[in-house]
Symmetry: C2
Subunit: 396 residues, 2 copies
C-alpha cells in the first residue's frame, strides 16, 4: 500500500512557507483589485489550499499584515499565529485592525455562518469573496501541478489494469466495485471533493448501455440511474452485454489534488455510429489541445467542440441524449469543479498553469456512452496531457 501524501505532523502549515506565500500573495493581489481589506475563510477546500491541511476554524487574511488562524479543532496545532477558539464570536477581540470591507465565502458557507461572521465586525461592509478564492485557485502552482501529475500516473496505472478485472456475467456495479478496490490498493484517497451542492458521487461513474441515457439530477457530464434514488447517478445494476459500451470515469484523487479521466470499454464490436462518435471525441480533444492557448476564451473552445460534433452529424447525442450537460470541460485540482468552465456562457479565459479536464462525450441509444476525458495542463503552446493512455475504445 503506497500513499502519496504528506506525513502527519502538528504544524498548521504543511505546504512550506514559500509555497504558502505564493498562494497568499495571489489572493491578496485579488483582494486589492476588489478593494477588500480582509477575508475570513472557513470552507475546508480553501483552508486546505491555504495551509495544506484541513482544520475546523477560520483563517483571517488582511490585505496587508499577518494572517491569523482561529482553530476550533484539532487542539494540537502549532506554528504561525494560532488562536484556539470555541466559536466564531471569539474571533473579534483578537483583531485590532477592523476591516472596512470584509470578504466572506457567500457561495459556499451557510447563511447562518455568514451572519455570525458579519456580526463580528458590524462596521465593516460585507462582500462576497468566493470568486477571489476560485480565481486564485484556478492557476496552479508548481507544487500543485506536481501533485496532480502524480495522481495522473496512478490514475493511468489503474485504467491499464481494468481489462483484467472484467469477467463475463458482471454487471456495471460488480465491475465498479472491483475498480474501487483496485483504486484504493493504488493509494486512491477515496474522497471526491466537490465545491457546493450541485453534485454527489461515490468513487466515480461507470455507465453501461442505455443506463448512460438516464437523466441525473447532478451537474456531471453524464448521468445514470444509480443503485439508489438517494444517490441517483452512475451504475444501476445493468448487465454488461456485447454491443454495449462501458464508460469508466472514476476517482483520481491520490494526492489531495486529483485528475479526471475517462476511457470507454466494450466487449465485442459496437455499432458504427458509436465508433464514429468516439472518434469525434478524440478529434475534439486533439483540436482543443492546439486551440487552448493562453488568452483564448473558454466559450470559444466550447463552440469549437459543439461545431465539430454538429459537423459530424452527432449534435443530438453530444453531452447526453435525453438530457444534455451544458459544458465540455472544467478546471480541476483540490475539487472536481474548479475554474475555468468550458461552457457557452463562460467568461473564463485560458491562462498558463490552469489544469483542465476535457470531456466531450456522446450518448448513443442502445449502445451507451462513448468518448474520452483527459486532464491537461495549460502551457504557452497549448494543452499537455497528464493522463496519457490509449484513446481508442478498449476491448475487455
Amino acid at each position: 500500500m503506497k500513499f502519496l501524501t504528506t506525513p502527519y505532523n502538528d504544524s498548521i502549515v504543511l505546504i512550506g512557507p514559500s509555497e504558502q506565500e505564493l498562494r497568499i500573495d495571489r489572493i491578496k493581489r485579488l483582494m486589492g483589485e476588489s478593494n477588500i481589506d480582509a477575508i475570513i475563510i472557513t470552507n475546508h477546500a480553501n483552508i486546505y489550499y491555504l495551509t495544506g491541511r484541513v482544520f475546523d476554524g477560520y483563517i483571517f487574511i488582511p490585505v496587508s499584515g499577518e494572517i491569523v488562524y482561529f482553530v476550533r479543532r484539532p487542539v494540537n496545532l502549532e506554528g504561525g499565529k494560532i488562536v484556539n477558539i470555541r466559536k466564531p464570536e471569539d474571533i473579534a477581540s483578537h483583531i485590532t485592525d477592523i476591516p472596512t470591507t470584509l470578504g466572506l465565502e457567500y457561495d459556499l458557507i451557510p447563511f447562518s455562518t455568514v451572519i455570525r461572521l458579519q456580526n463580528l465586525f458590524p462596521q465593516a461592509t460585507p462582500t462576497n469573496a468566493s470568486a477571489i478564492m476560485r480565481t486564485a485557485r484556478s492557476i496552479k502552482t508548481a507544487t500543485e501541478i506536481e501533485l496532480i501529475k502524480r495522481s495522473g500516473i496512478e490514475h493511468v496505472n489503474v485504467h491499464r489494469q481494468i481489462p483484467q478485472l472484467y469477467q463475463p456475467g458482471m454487471t456495471d456495479i460488480d465491475l465498479q466495485i472491483e475498480i474501487e478496490y483496485l483504486l484504493r490498493k493504488h493509494g486512491c484517497l477515496g474522497q471526491f471533493r466537490i465545491s457546493g451542492d450541485s453534485m454527489e458521487l461515490y468513487m466515480g461513474n461507470l455507465l453501461v448501455g442505455d443506463n448512460a441515457d438516464t437523466p441525473s439530477p447532478y451537474d456531471f457530464a453524464m448521468g445514470g440511474a444509480g443503485m439508489t434514488p438517494s444517490l441517483p447517478v452512475g451504475a444501476a445494476g445493468t448487465p454488461i452485454k456485447p454491443g454495449n459500451t462501458i464508460m469508466i470515469d472514476m476517482n483520481g484523487n491520490f494526492t489531495g489534488h486529483m485528475t479526471d479521466m475517462t476511457r470507454t470499454y466494450a466487449c465485442g464490436p459496437i455499432a458504427d455510429i458509436a465508433v464514429k462518435a468516439h472518434n469525434c471525441s478524440i478529434d475534439i480533444h486533439h483540436a482543443l489541445v492546439k486551440a487552448a492557448v493562453p488568452g483564448v476564451k473558454c466559450s470559444d473552445l466550447y463552440n469549437l467542440a459543439l461545431t465539430m460534433a454538429g459537423d459530424a452529424g452527432l449534435a443530438q447525442y453530444f453531452m447526453g441524449h435525453r438530457q444534455h450537460a451544458g459544458f465540455i470541460g472544467h478546471g480541476i485540482g483540490i475539487e472536481v469543479n474548479e475554474l475555468p468552465v468550458i461552457a457557452p456562457r463562460s467568461r473564463d479565459v485560458i491562462s498558463c498553469n490552469m489544469v483542465i479536464a476535457i470531456e466531450p462525450k456522446f450518448v448513443i441509444p442502445a449502445v451507451g456512452a462513448v468518448g474520452i476525458e483527459n486532464t491537461y495542463l495549460a502551457t504557452p503552446t497549448g494543452l499537455v496531457n497528464l493522463t496519457e493512455l490509449d484513446e481508442q475504445i478498449i476491448q475487455l
Copy 2:
C-alpha cells in the same frame, strides 16, 4: 450483489402517497407552531426525505395547500405538481399565494442561495426553517425504521466477517480497504451523508493503537491522523500489533437510511485498563437502554454516562484523551448527525421512534480506542438495539 433500495422510475415521489403525507403533515404542523406560511426546501437530504429521491431544484411547501416541485434536473420527472425551471428566479411567477413568512434552510444552504430565494418574495418576512426539518426528521416513520433495520442487518453481517479478513502484517488501511470491499459486496451504497460541514469521511473510521489519540478537526467521537492532511481522520497506515486495539466504525448505509455501529477488535491480550474501559462502555450502553425512555432529557443521559465513566476512574480517557468529543450519541437516519444530540447542553428530549446511535468510547494511551456503538430505536420502555452483535472485544 444485492442492493436494498427502490428501483428507478420517473415518479417525482418514490415513497408512496400516505408515507409522504405523514412526513409533510408533521412539517406543516411545525410550520403552524412557528407561524411560517411557506418553506422552500433545496437541501438534498431534505428533498430525499420529502420525496424518496434526490433532484436538483426546490420544493415549495405552503402551510395549507398543495406542494409544488420546481425541478432543474433531471428533466424527465412526472407526477405531482412539477414545474421545470432553469434557475430559482423562475419560481416566483408560479406562486399565486405570496407567503407572509418564508422559511429557508439557513443552516444548510449557502448565503448566496438564501439571498436569491428571499428575493423571490420581497414582501415576505424571511426566517430559518432548518430546525423544523431537523425536528420533523428526528422522529422516524415506520417505513424509515424498516429501512434502518435492514441497514442494521447487513451492517452486522459485515462485522461478523471481519475476523476472516484479517491477516498478520496488515496495517489499519490494509484492513479498512478489505472491509470497504466487503461492505460494497453486501450492498453498502458507499455514500455517507453528513449534514453541514463539520465532518468529512470516506467509508468509515478504523483506528489502531495510538493513532486513536491523534486529534482530528472533525466532530466525530474519535479522531486519527488519516492517510492525508486533506482528510485528516481515521486510518493512518499504522501496523496492527499485539496489545493494540482495532476500533472499527464503518459505513452502515445500505438503504439510504443508515445505521452506525462500532466494535473493538484485538489480536492477542490487551492491558487490563483497556478491558475495564471497554466493559464500562458496555455498562453505559445497558444503563442508557433502560434510562432512555420518552420524556427523558438527553443532557441527563449524557451526564449518566459521564458519571459512570468517572466512577470507574476513567474520566480522562472518556470520549478521547488528547482531545475530547462533546457528545456520546446522536440521531441517525438519512444523515449521520441528526437529532437528538446526547450532549451536556442538549435541549433534546427522548421521543418514541427516534433512532439514536450511542457511542461511549475511551482512548487508552499505548493501547488504542475501546468501547462499542449501537444504533437503537426509542420505544415506550427504552431503547431497542438494531445492531445486535457480541459486545466484548473480538479477537482477530
